[in-house]
Symmetry: C2
Subunit: 111 residues, 2 copies
DNA sequence: AGGTTATATTCCAATATTACGATGAATAGA
DNA sequence: TCTATTCATCGTAATATTGGAATATAACCT
């Protein structure tokens, strides 16, 4: 595996795929849901909440940060994570537009 | 890597992540977009349309079929693929609901 | 400074994914 | 039947992802 031939696709296609890829892990879904649930931001409670080791959570947080979904702010020894609502709306728009596609099927030709 | 600890997450979380994962490759995004664009179904024109080898496309189609996004029907020596609009609406609903989450932030506590 | 706590990084094993050549199965047409 | 066409599957190389142990880093407190 491995090499995705990104150069064969458009910027938009790569971007969309990348966002989807980041969402493509249950731990990251769980982290996002938890951050939404707790209005206050969270730190390493996530490690307790989700049943994975601290380095693993840290890595998932990094991935989420890489597409801008979450933000972290340091407060003392702990880091407070939360959803970046603006960025979330942004991504939501991109994905939503993709999802709202409809077949302009006059008649189904075969399926 | 490798083992995703699916048992640590809910059914819904795993399902959502799985859908996202399937969408997490530009080739599959491109395939979906092309199938939407051409109202009539498509066969191995996809191989020409997208610049990847036939086995590779075939593999991506299989992944897309695995979550029910597309259907294929045989006509002669060629196979006709198209979006399963019902299933698409279904997935769209699931993802859309996830995306529409809002922070119930009264005040931002830290970020 | 020394100790504690919280988080990030590094490293590695296990596994998954991507891409494609080679091969196989099915069908249409000569 | 023979051949060409179309697609799926197998096998394999290259690469990516996950998970966690070990370790580093940073901030706080005494």
């Amino acid at each position: 595996m491995g090499i995705t031939k990104s150069d064969k696709f458009t910027e938009a296609q790569n971007r969309l795929a990348n966002i989807a890829k980041v969402l493509g892990h249950p731990a990251r879904i769980a982290i996002i849901q938890h951050l939404f649930k707790i209005d206050s931001c969270i730190c390493g409670d996530l490690v307790n909440e989700i049943g994975l080791a601290q380095p693993t959570i840290s890595q998932h947080l990094k991935v989420l940060k890489s597409v801008g979904i979450i933000q972290g702010s340091i407060s003392g020894t702990s880091v407070c994570y939360c959803i970046d609502q603006d960025e979330w709306n942004n991504l939501s728009e991109i994905i939503g537009q993709f999802l709202s596609q409809k077949a302009n099927t006059v008649d189904d030709v075969c399926c």
